[in-house]
């Protein structure tokens, strides 16, 4: 049978192996994205909105994070979590937690850097206008962020893009263990090597669809927030 048709059949028939890997991918990358957002967004927003002495070096470090090679990040996390490493006692190597950590390290700088760039370009008259309308400090910040919400959503989308398709780091710290740490990217590598092109193609199609859907959903979410006008 044509590998493409077989791939479609695997997806639509709810093949247990394929869907297990897909759900595990979503679980790990979703958790990593959440963690990266919780850390990256406040850092990007805070650095973008404030002026302090060592701001320039801090911005340089955040931007440098965009160029982190995933395998190097994977190596770093591996060394930290390996038995001889500082966090070896936690025995997290080859677990989903290790993969979440590595992916968060990869996505965090994207989210921080893109949100920082968006926030630091907010015209100062927005804060002035907000304060003139009687906004508290917190409200004034939210009103400023409201004006760049699409860029903030784009920051999260960039972070998601950086991890959902990443293979080097998750392979190193996850180990591609079936039912545990096997995700779509590592599965595609493995199944291609095995010659199971139908499975690899099925994973590839789902990976592409997920990337498309998540980005579309994030953009829609950004627009809805505009309509609702939840500022205070």
């Amino acid at each position: 049978m044509d590998p493409l048709l077989e791939a479609l059949r695997l997806i639509t028939s709810g093949d247990l192996y394929v869907w297990n890997v897909i759900l595990r991918s979503l679980q790990i990358s979703g958790s990593a994205l959440l963690l990266a957002m919780v850390i990256g967004l406040p850092i990007g927003i805070a650095v973008g909105l404030t002026r302090f002495r060592l701001r320039l070096p801090v911005v340089a470090v955040i931007n440098a994070g965009l160029a982190f090679p995933p395998v190097v990040v994977g190596l770093g996390v591996f060394l930290f979590l390996s038995r001889a490493g500082p966090l070896g006692d936690l025995q997290l190597l080859y677990t989903p937690a290790a993969m979440i950590g590595a992916q968060a390290i990869l996505a965090g700088p994207y989210i921080a850097a893109v949100s920082l760039a968006a926030v630091e370009n907010i015209p100062p008259d927005i804060a002035l206008q907000a304060r003139a309308l009687g906004a508290s400090r917190r409200q004034a910040i939210l009103l400023q962020l409201r004006e760049v919400r699409t860029s903030l959503v784009a920051a999260v989308a960039a972070g998601f893009g950086a991890i959902i398709s990443e293979v080097g780091a998750v392979m190193m710290v996850g180990g591609n263990i079936l039912g545990e740490t096997r995700v779509m990217t590592t599965a595609i590598v493995l199944e291609t090597r095995r010659g199971n092109f139908d499975v690899a193609i099925a994973m590839g199609i789902v990976l592409m669809l997920i990337a498309l859907c998540v980005n579309a959903a994030l953009l829609l979410l950004g627009r809805r927030t505009i309509r609702r006008g939840q500022i205070a």
């Binding site: 015209p123 008259d125 927005i126 002035l128 206008q129 907000a130 304060r131 003139a132 309308l133 009687g134 906004a135 508290s136 409200q139 009103l143 409201r146 004006e147 505009i226 309509r227 006008g229 500022i231 205070a232």
Partner: protein
């Protein structure tokens, strides 16, 4: 406007610099309850900075702003709750007009239904209720400024700060908005702090005018006081005076001086010792033209020179004339008067002007001045 006694808002010893350049150096300014105070001056004079300082949106390098006699954080909070600002280029959040008008109320925790009702009421007052559902991006300049005014008025402020609200509008929109500003402020008895570089706006709308130059207040008083008795050459110039006459004082007596302008003498208001070189400020509309052969004996006007029309410029119902006599003069007469006198280039006319319409100033500028009480 019903100006009552007692300063509502005041600034003392205000100083603000940016990169070593002094933007504001105002020793004293106050806004009284129910009045409209216009700060009038050219671009870059420090008007907007002064507004931000008085609105407590920016901290001065030195000096203090007091609201209802209080200062510091409590006064800042009270002023924020009791005031609203309309900027020259207001920022709108990308949403509907209704959202933007009601934003200040939402920030103050006013329930949504009440905010909606108040927004509708104020928009009706400003004739923009048909725009409530429109996206903010579709508004014209005039509509946008009206929405900005509605967004401020919906807060029912005690003090309304207006930073050149009509500066970017076409003539019709400017006049309409100016009219609405005056009407609404009167109806609500709101105290208004208006920043403007438009002489007509300042002098027609305000109860008092403060003239600002290089960050300093040159003169504060009612429009009449400033118009009739400008403190210095600068104030006279920005309030529309001409300065084509110069000469030397030959006699000084009781706040009046006689000035030799070369071939003729003029009596003017002013204080200077004989021999002082002076410039004489006058308003073109104060010059009275007539045929050169009418004897002045029966007139109270003390100053008379004969001049020849050099240039005539028609400006709608008015005619601006450039005259050459002992000195160059600029006169403004109605079209009817110009036709009656037959003023064309080359025609000789007698120019009469009352001494009290001429202000002699020493060539060196003088310091700030507070005109009498208003």
């Amino acid at each position: 406007m019903n100006a009552a006694a007692g300063p509502l808002l005041g600034g003392v010893g205000l100083r603000r610099s940016y990169g070593g350049r002094t933007a504001v150096a105002v020793d004293r300014i106050e806004l009284r309850e129910g009045e409209m105070l216009a700060v009038f001056g050219p671009n870059g004079a420090g008007k907007s900075t002064l507004l931000r300082l008085l609105a407590m949106l920016e901290k001065p390098d030195a000096g203090e702003v007091a609201f209802r006699g209080g200062s510091g954080r409590p006064a800042e909070r009270a002023l924020r709750a009791a005031s609203a600002v309309v900027f020259q280029r207001p920022h709108f959040w990308s949403d509907s007009v209704e959202y933007n008008v009601g934003l200040g109320l939402a920030l103050r925790g006013v329930p949504r239904s009440e905010a909606r009702a108040r927004s509708r009421a104020v928009c009706e007052q400003l004739a923009i209720s048909h725009l409530l559902g429109a996206p903010i991006s579709r508004l014209s300049g005039g509509e946008a400024q009206r929405v900005a005014l509605a967004r401020a008025l919906v807060l029912d402020p005690e003090i309304l700060f207006l930073d050149e609200p009509t500066a970017n509008l076409d003539t019709d929109s400017r006049l309409d908005l100016r009219h609405d500003l005056e009407r609404v402020a009167r109806e609500r008895a709101t105290s208004v702090f208006l920043i403007t570089h438009d002489r007509g706006e300042a002098f027609h709308l305000a109860d008092r005018v403060a003239v600002i130059r290089d960050g300093k207040l040159v003169q504060t008083g009612t429009p009449k006081e400033i118009y009739e008795n400008p403190a210095d050459v600068y104030t006279a110039r920005v309030t529309g005076a001409e300065f084509t006459i110069s000469g030397a004082v030959t006699r000084a007596h009781e706040r009046m001086v006689t000035v030799d302008i070369g071939g003729a003498s003029l009596v003017a208001l002013g204080e200077a010792v004989p021999g002082t070189p002076v410039k004489i400020a006058y308003r073109p509309e104060d010059l009275v033209l007539g045929p050169p052969d009418v004897p002045p004996a029966d007139l109270s006007t003390r100053n008379l020179v004969v001049a020849t029309v050099e240039e005539r410029r028609d400006m709608g119902g008015l005619v601006r004339l450039r005259l050459r006599g002992p000195v160059e003069l600029v006169a403004l007469v109605t079209l009817d008067a110009a036709e009656e006198l037959g003023v064309e280039p080359g025609v000789r006319v007698a120019v009469r002007v009352k001494a009290t319409a001429l202000h002699a100033f020493p060539a060196a500028p003088v310091g700030p001045r507070e005109s009498g009480t208003s």
